[in-house]
Symmetry: C2
């Protein structure tokens, strides 16, 4: 049986692990660091999770669902331009609210997606393929301009995630100002012009 304390400790550990893995990558992270952030001892971490690998896996397993939700929410029966802009806005909002998750994902993919390959070539690919069909229909209906659906989706990922993943760089260039200041308006304009039929 799982007690309330157990659930709370598991959550605290995963929270700390997200902090450290997203900032240091899998190999860069140490159990000592995670234990320090979580306020627990190192062996206690391993009482709740079998291994460092298991903590990382637990985070990644949750992550893909969170990551796909905004794309999944695109409504095939809605207006093309509105649906794509709304998707972009949801994705930008995620970069704002979940920057650590974005960096955890980026770290993984950057290093060749060794622990995410199955999910990317499975669930994610299927979803992208499906939504590409939807986008092509919007194009043939004249609702949006004729752009490659895959590159359109990649461009939304690139532009929105960049603000979370390259936060350190943008901050240094903009004297520490919030990297996302003005991002909403800029991306709104960009995709509005791109999709104009």
């Amino acid at each position: 049986m799982t007690t309330r304390i157990q659930r709370r400790n598991r959550r605290r550990i995963l929270e700390a692990a997200l902090d450290v893995f997203s900032a240091q990558g899998f190999r860069g992270a140490t159990l000592d660091q995670i234990a320090g952030v979580a306020g627990l001892s190192k062996p206690n971490l391993l009482y709740y999770f079998d291994s460092k690998e298991a903590m990382h896996r637990a985070l990644l397993d949750d992550l893909l669902d969170i990551w796909l939700a905004p794309l999944r929410a695109m409504n095939p029966d809605g207006n093309g331009r509105e649906e794509i802009l709304a998707y972009m806005r949801r994705k930008l909002q995620m970069s704002r609210e979940l920057p650590r998750e974005s960096r955890l994902f980026a770290n993984e993919v950057l290093q060749g997606a060794p622990r995410l390959a199955d999910q990317i070539s499975g669930d994610l690919k299927r979803l992208v393929d499906d939504q590409a069909v939807v986008i092509r229909r919007w194009i043939s209906m004249g609702q949006i301009a004729a752009v490659d659906p895959y590159h359109l989706i990649f461009s939304i990922w690139a532009l929105t995630q960049h603000y979370a993943d390259f936060d350190a760089q943008i901050r240094l260039i903009r004297d520490g100002a919030d990297p996302m200041d003005g991002a909403d308006g800029f991306l709104e304009t960009l995709f509005d012009k791109l999709l104009q039929p």
Copy 2:
């Protein structure tokens, strides 16, 4: 005095180090891996470089110049639309030709730019600030649409580097096809529409 053999070995080591650091990050990389790729023994690596850190630093020191060249090459006296599109094309070309350098850079920034902060807030910031002024002049001259110069530059970075940094993800989604197939045309259209006055 530096012999030809010494220069050749240093180059071989840096080449191997770029391979491994860009794929595994600094802490993920091991001297054994680098030695294996370089075809030299581990102690021999440390005959040419004082430490693992020194190899990494040597790569980063070279990197920023390479990375800034395309932005630096933007001509203030040229036509705004042409200059920005040419910059985007050069940057995309770099993602094609130097994907490892792109990932080395991404790994660093993703983890908070601990070893690049000075160069980013120095050389890079100055260059970006200067080119932002140039872009504002192009806007006031009516050569391009009124967009935020900083976000414009960030969008070029995000969109072009994405193809190198997230190569693994795109490949898995596109059944192993070259991630850059069709990227040139797509980005050309995107920035052409965005900059249309």
